[in-house]
């Protein structure tokens, strides 16, 4: 009998097998989503080791909570959410005593794409050079699609702080781009 190749298994089959404590299915599920989740973990951490810790912790939570997964919804999205939340927990632990920032930045929309002539690698570099809280809010808002209310809850800040941190991040990015172009 021909055995299925890993990519031929549906999410439903992987979930069912993993719930049955079958290590083969658990590993397949991990392999399917590990790279994508590691990339996300990297974007919320300062180095690969920290990202690897987030990945491990995130997947352990995934397997522990797999029973709670609603099979009608995307498994990838659910795992991503868990990994991002794990990264946020790690961030909260790390920045518990850091950064007291002002909440009164205004959103100065410039009306055009400031990254129009900038490639992806540089955009990522500029974003990663932002102060931690501003960077985190920007990523959650722009990359993960979190609403300010969700960001406020995840980072244990107020909605106003979330908004002002987003404005601050954009403003800093504009300054960075401007100085790099000069």
């Amino acid at each position: 009998m021909n055995q299925k190749k890993p990519y031929q298994y549906s999410d439903e089959e992987l979930v069912k097998g993993s719930l049955g404590r079958d290590k083969y299915y658990q590993e397949l599920l991990y392999r399917k989503y590990a790279d994508g989740m590691f990339t996300i973990a990297c974007s919320y951490s300062d180095n690969d080791d920290e990202a690897a810790d987030i990945l491990q912790e995130g997947f352990i939570k995934v397997f522990r909570k797999l029973k709670q997964h609603d099979t009608t919804k995307s498994l990838g999205g659910w795992i991503k959410r868990i990994v991002v939340n794990t990264a946020l927990e790690s961030y909260r632990k790390k920045t518990r005593h850091l950064e007291v920032v002002e909440d009164y930045y205004n959103d100065e929309s410039v009306g055009y794409n400031i990254f129009e002539n900038t490639n992806s690698i540089n955009i990522i570099k500029y974003v990663n050079d932002l102060p931690p809280k501003a960077k985190m809010v920007l990523k959650l808002y722009a990359v993960e699609g979190y609403a300010h209310q969700e960001i406020a809850t995840a980072l244990n800040i107020s909605v106003g702080t979330s908004k002002s941190q987003l404005s601050r991040a954009k403003s800093l990015l504009r300054t960075m781009l401007k100085s790099s172009n000069e």
Binding site: D35, A52, L55, Y112, F115, L173
Partner: protein
């Protein structure tokens, strides 16, 4: 191909695609709507991050797998702890049944005689066969004597005016049960039967004498001063005897004497059982601790053999059994070197045992009764198998299986003509250390013993 045929195929293909509508995954619109709300620069950031991909470190899965195994072990231990409590209940329940059996046996033994007071109310035990009664010397004495007198022998008294039969044990029992009330009651009775004070005292004395000695002689009643106050008025049986025990019109129970009344001394047959088995080595004992990383599994074994009994009488017998196939198993898993290991120990042996069996009912006529059996056994190992994930410390566990122990069983027996069927609970406990003596570790440092508890069934032929 004609244009009509071509159109038909195209329509079929179109229809098949039209019919193959699939529902879009949930959450897609939510993602799209969020992207729509993003400004251009925010969208550029999103796309930039989506473009990158980094392979996950190879070590990550190993670490995740280890943690998942640890989770399973802890979950298993929690489950085991709950199950251990169940085991405690099962053992307690089984122990209770055995104790109940012993209690019933003790009760029956102590209440000897109480159940066979009179033949009228008993289906099982006749005091006398009618022919014995008719032909007895006792009856002659009875018929020749004054009908108003009480006729007795050493074993029983017959009150002629009522035709009762009762034996000495009744009187003993009544004396004990009535205690100090005897004198008061007799006083009342005597008064109501028109006795004067002298005769009342005499009668009281006489009946107390009767109660204490269980023997009443005719002379005792002849000493009464007046024929007018004969004992006939006293209605003795209703005073002396509990009305529940005696009824006015006693009829003799006639039981046919059959050829099988002679006891069959020998029984031979087969015995088998299924048991919950334990091999208590150091791992299994550790597994009983609440926070242990060893998880003991429920293990079963069996025994099959032949049995020979010799009946001393209806109540007691000695039993010799030879079990040619006995298996004792112990399965458990333990966490070691970052992994969960499974182990299965099986000891197969032959067993020779003897026991004393007590019939808990006193009747020789009953064909169904409870039994209690206690004895000892000796085992000789045939084979010891250890399966599972063998780790570096497996030298600890080697067994020889030669053992000596004690056994206890509580059961129920049916007899159908010459066939006896018995079944019940059995329990055996080994008394020796069955570990092998190894150069690395002497066996005194790795004590292991066998235990089992289960159910048995046996069928035997009587001859």
């Amino acid at each position: 191909m004609s244009s009509n045929g071509k159109e038909h195929i195209e329509n079929s293909i179109k229809n098949s695609f039209d019919n193959n509508q699939r529902k879009a995954p949930e959450g897609i619109w939510s993602s799209i709507s969020k992207s729509i709300n993003l400004t251009d620069d925010e969208f550029s950031i999103k796309e930039s991050f989506n473009d990158i991909s980094k392979p996950a470190p190879t070590e990550s899965w190993k670490n995740i797998k280890k943690q998942l195994i640890i989770d399973e072990v802890w979950e298993g231990i929690q489950h085991y702890n709950k199950r251990k409590r169940k085991f405690v209940w099962i053992w307690s329940f089984t122990g209770l049944i055995l104790l109940l059996g012993i209690g019933v046996a003790t009760y029956i033994i102590n209440s000897e005689g109480s159940g066979n007071v009179i033949s009228h109310n008993q289906n099982s035990i006749p005091l006398h066969f009618e022919d014995e009664y008719v032909n007895s010397e006792f009856t002659e004495n009875y018929s020749n004597s004054n009908q108003q007198n009480i006729i007795t022998n050493n074993e029983e008294e017959i009150f002629n005016n009522k035709g009762f039969i009762f034996d000495s044990s009744i009187i003993n029992k009544i004396t004990k049960s009535n205690g100090g009330l005897a004198d008061e009651n007799i006083n009342d009775r005597i008064e109501t039967n028109y006795l004067d004070s002298y005769s009342k005292n005499q009668a009281t004395s006489s009946f107390n004498n009767l109660i204490s000695k269980s023997v009443v002689s005719i002379d005792t009643f002849n000493q009464l001063p007046s024929e007018d106050y004969k004992i006939q008025k006293l209605n003795i049986p209703t005073y002396l005897l509990n009305e529940q025990l005696l009824e006015p019109s006693v009829s003799f129970l006639t039981i046919e004497k059959t050829k099988d009344t002679k006891i069959k001394r020998f029984e031979f047959g087969f015995i088998g059982g299924v048991n919950s088995t334990w091999i208590f080595n150091s791992d299994v004992r550790e597994g009983l601790n609440k926070h242990s990383l060893v998880r003991n599994e429920l293990s079963f074994g069996s025994n099959i053999g032949v049995v020979a009994n010799y009946n001393f009488n209806y109540r007691s017998s000695i039993s010799l059994n030879y079990d040619f196939s006995v298996s004792v198993n112990q399965n458990y898993s333990y966490f070691n070197h970052g992994g969960l290991h499974y182990r299965e120990i099986q000891i197969k042996y032959q067993k020779m045992g003897f026991s004393y069996k007590l019939n808990l009912t006193k009747s020789a006529c009953q064909s169904r009764y409870f039994t209690l059996k206690a004895g000892a056994y000796f085992t000789s190992a045939q084979q010891t198998i250890t399966n599972g994930d063998l780790s570096t410390n497996d030298f600890k566990h080697k067994y020889n299986g030669n053992d000596v122990g004690v056994k206890l069983a509580f059961g129920y027996e049916h007899q159908f003509n010459r066939i006896k069927l018995s079944y019940g609970f059995q329990s055996e406990t080994g008394g020796l250390n069955i570990s092998e003596d190894l150069i690395v570790i002497p066996k005194k440092f790795k004590y292991a013993s066998t235990h089992y508890m289960g159910v048995y069934v046996s069928i035997r032929y009587l001859f």
